[in-house]
């Protein structure tokens, strides 16, 4: 029954994309996309529950034969995460695009364009998750870059053109470097003269030590740089704050929540193959160094940031760093922390990006110093951004509260005391910086009238002096999406830890 589900997850979004292109009426497109993404969510949930019953991990499919696709619990988890975040962002997008239409930032044709690209983006990410061949996985990761570059450059502004250009160029070059790594892997496979071995993950992951050590080391380093750039590791992160801050808020949520997780997923698959030849410690040192570097780079930019979306974007770099640290420390704690953190980072970061999008649409500015008195005027947004931000820094009862100590435990079990200490210092410094920004935005008094300030009038789009149009309502769908994320992160944070505890006892 579950054999063919991956095909639906890959090709249904393409069909949906074509349908949205055909409909073109913006209201119908919005509701259609909501329904369609809900269908994807249901299918991927079914797959997540049924993946354990699969006969073999290489999937047989009617057209493509056996061995093109591969699925295990990790792929099912990623597919579920992608469709969950996509469902929530497509609820949010309805109101978001309507308000952009009202402000006449975009035309009506752009709305169906947006959903078209969004569905293709999801399809490309599902391809990354389910493909078996390492080379084709590379091609799919490159495809996600190309499609998401269209989403980053969605607005017709100079800033968004600049952000899309940087994103496309830096990520394409990086991904090209990881193709060099994969070419070297192919060389290692062929020169090992093991019969029947190909670039398929299902074969390589069980092949044992097959490759020449020096080739595999080269290969791993190139792949790490490529996929690491796409995931947003410092010092290759320079495209990230630009791309995240210039794309529409729901797209930033998708990019930060699941796209970086997708490239980390590809890297995990590759590392699993490489470690058979190079041994455990080779990759983990690289992961730890890059992870700590990301934390170090994120810290000053978070503290000194004055743009709310860039603040959240730099926090993405920090959390990618934490995920890579967890990968580097390894062990049972480290691995649990990777999945746990990936999941809750996706949820909470989407929450923050969506809330930031709403705040920007209310205040008409990105600057933190100009956003004041959120609690006074918009209680819902104030609670979402303040509590969500605290959750992102690791306050209970949100999931990150459990995964960050788990990384620490993994570090202590692996006896990496220096890395553990640096990790803790960075986390607490970032916490202080983040809290400072959050309280500045949430509390204080916002004077609605600045007679001396010139602003752009809502209706006539001419610069006039006077009162800011602050009290527009935040749409119901926006609030719904934010509330869903909030509930998921709070409730399941508690539930998952108890489930984990039960599992632990049973062993």
């Amino acid at each position: 029954m579950y054999e063919n589900i991956h095909l639906y997850l890959i090709f249904l979004p393409v069909a949906f994309a074509l349908i949205t292109k055909a409909i073109r009426r913006c209201l119908i497109v919005e509701y259609f996309s909501m329904a369609a993404s809900f269908i994807l969510l249901v299918i991927s949930y079914m797959f997540l529950t049924g993946v354990g019953t699969l006969a073999s991990k290489t999937l047989k499919s009617p057209i493509f034969g056996e061995g093109l696709f591969y699925a295990d619990h990790l792929s099912a988890f990623m597919a579920f995460l992608i469709s969950l975040i996509f469902f929530i962002t497509s609820i949010y997008s309805g109101d978001y695009l309507e308000s952009e239409l009202k402000r006449r930032v975009i035309s009506e044709r752009k709305v169906s364009d947006y959903y078209f690209r969004g569905f293709l983006f999801v399809s490309a990410m599902m391809m990354v998750v389910f493909i078996n061949n390492i080379g084709l996985m590379w091609a799919s990761v490159e495809a996600t870059t190309l499609v998401s570059a269209l989403l980053v450059g969605f607005y017709n502004t100079r800033e968004s053109a600049e952000a899309a250009w940087k994103y496309l160029i830096i990520c394409t070059v990086a991904i090209a470097l990881s193709l060099f790594g994969i070419v070297l892997l192919n060389y290692a496979i062929i020169s090992s003269k093991v019969p029947g071995l190909s670039l398929d993950y299902s074969l390589l992951s069980t092949a044992g030590k097959f490759a020449d050590l020096s080739i595999m080391k080269f290969s791993f380093v190139f792949v790490l740089i490529g996929y690491g750039t796409k995931a947003g590791l410092a010092p290759m992160h320079t495209w990230l704050p630009d791309a995240y801050s210039q794309s529409p808020a729901p797209v930033s949520a998708m990019l930060s929540g699941v796209l970086s997780a997708c490239s980390t997923y590809s890297l995990i698959r590759f590392e699993h193959i490489a470690r058979l030849s190079t041994g455990q410690n080779f990759a983990s040192d690289y992961f730890i160094v890059f992870g700590l570097l990301s934390l170090f780079v994120a810290f000053p930019f978070i503290v000194l940031q004055n743009d709310i979306k860039r603040l959240v974007a730099y926090s993405s770099i920090e959390h990618t760093g934490i995920i890579y640290l967890a990968l580097g420390f390894g062990g049972p704690f480290g691995l649990i922390a990777v999945f746990y953190h990936t999941f809750y980072h996706a949820i909470l970061k989407s929450l923050m990006f969506l809330t930031a999008g709403s705040i920007i649409s209310v205040y008409k500015t990105n600057e933190i110093t100009k956003i004041k008195g959120l609690f006074e005027h918009h209680k819902f947004l104030a609670v979402a951004v303040f509590i969500g931000g605290l959750g992102l820094c690791g306050m209970p009862p949100f999931g990150i509260f459990f995964s960050e100590p788990m990384v620490l435990l993994a570090a202590l079990t692996a006896k990496k005391y220096l890395a553990a200490a640096l990790y803790l210092i960075c986390l607490s410094l970032i916490f202080i910086g983040f809290l400072n920004h959050l309280s500045k935005m949430t509390f204080g008094h916002y004077a609605k009238c600045h007679a001396e300030e010139v602003f752009e009038c809502e209706n006539c789009r001419r610069a006039t002096a006077g009162c800011r149009a602050l009290d527009i309502n935040v749409g119901f769908k926006m609030k719904l999406a934010i509330a869903i994320l909030f509930v998921i992160s709070a409730v399941s944070g508690v539930y998952m830890i108890s489930a984990l505890k039960r599992r632990w006892r049973r062993r």
Partner: protein
């Protein structure tokens, strides 16, 4: 692997490898965008010829197919598209950012030596074809990166990416006589779509910034 290459084929391939490096260095030297596109055309032609040479030696149909694809896409489609974009955006000449051209020329020589040096642990065990061609491919990648960081115009950066891509393709041929066909098709598809996207984006940039100078793309900071 597939047996050994004859001495004559090896010599031809080595000459073509040298030609690849030469065209890469030429694109570091050239400033006019049209000459850059011409250099890229000849580079891709040499790549297709290498495919044909090795394909003939092993009687391998897959490599003929790859050669045809390289010729069709990289010698015809992409150069014509780039010419179209350059005419549309009216870019003629490019400027240097860090190094003057003589310095960049010397640096690309240094990069070639560097890639021979770091690939030494792999190439000592490799066959005669892999030994030179893998080094050439890494040199192409590094020279492409040098071109990208040293030039300011968007179109030259696209050409830098294309040179890197040629290097990757050469690496695929040099090490394993071509990646598996389906992977190669995926890579080609990505290159075409990527170049088209970059072209569209660069014409968008030239419309909204009135220039293709990427130095002027400095609105977003910190």
């Amino acid at each position: 692997m597939h047996g050994e290459l004859s001495q004559a084929v090896l010599q031809n391939v080595n000459i073509l490898n040298t030609f690849l490096l030469l065209t890469a260095i030429m694109s570091v030297v050239f400033r006019r965008i049209r000459s850059q596109i011409t250099a890229y055309f000849f580079q891709s032609l040499a790549l297709a010829l290498i495919c044909v040479q090795i394909g003939k030696a092993f009687n391998n149909g897959h490599l003929y197919f790859a050669a045809g694809l390289t010729f069709g896409v990289k010698c015809l489609l992409i150069p014509l598209f780039l010419l179209y974009i350059s005419r549309k955006t009216m870019v003629v000449k490019d400027g240097e950012k860090f190094f003057k051209i003589p310095t960049a020329l010397m640096l690309s020589g240094v990069l070639i030596i560097f890639s021979f040096y770091i690939l030494h642990p792999i190439s000592v065990h490799a066959g005669p074809l892999t030994r030179t061609a893998l080094n050439c491919s890494l040199s192409l990648i590094l020279i492409g990166l040098l071109l990208m960081i040293n030039r300011t115009f968007a179109l030259t950066q696209i050409i830098g990416i294309l040179i890197i891509e040629n290097g990757l393709f050469l690496a695929g041929i040099a090490t394993t006589y071509g990646m598996p066909l389906i992977v190669e098709l995926g890579a080609f598809f990505d290159v075409i779509v990527g170049v088209v996207l970059m072209g569209v984006l660069s014409s968008k940039i030239s419309r909204s910034f009135d220039t293709l100078d990427t130095e002027k793309l400095n609105l977003l900071k910190y």
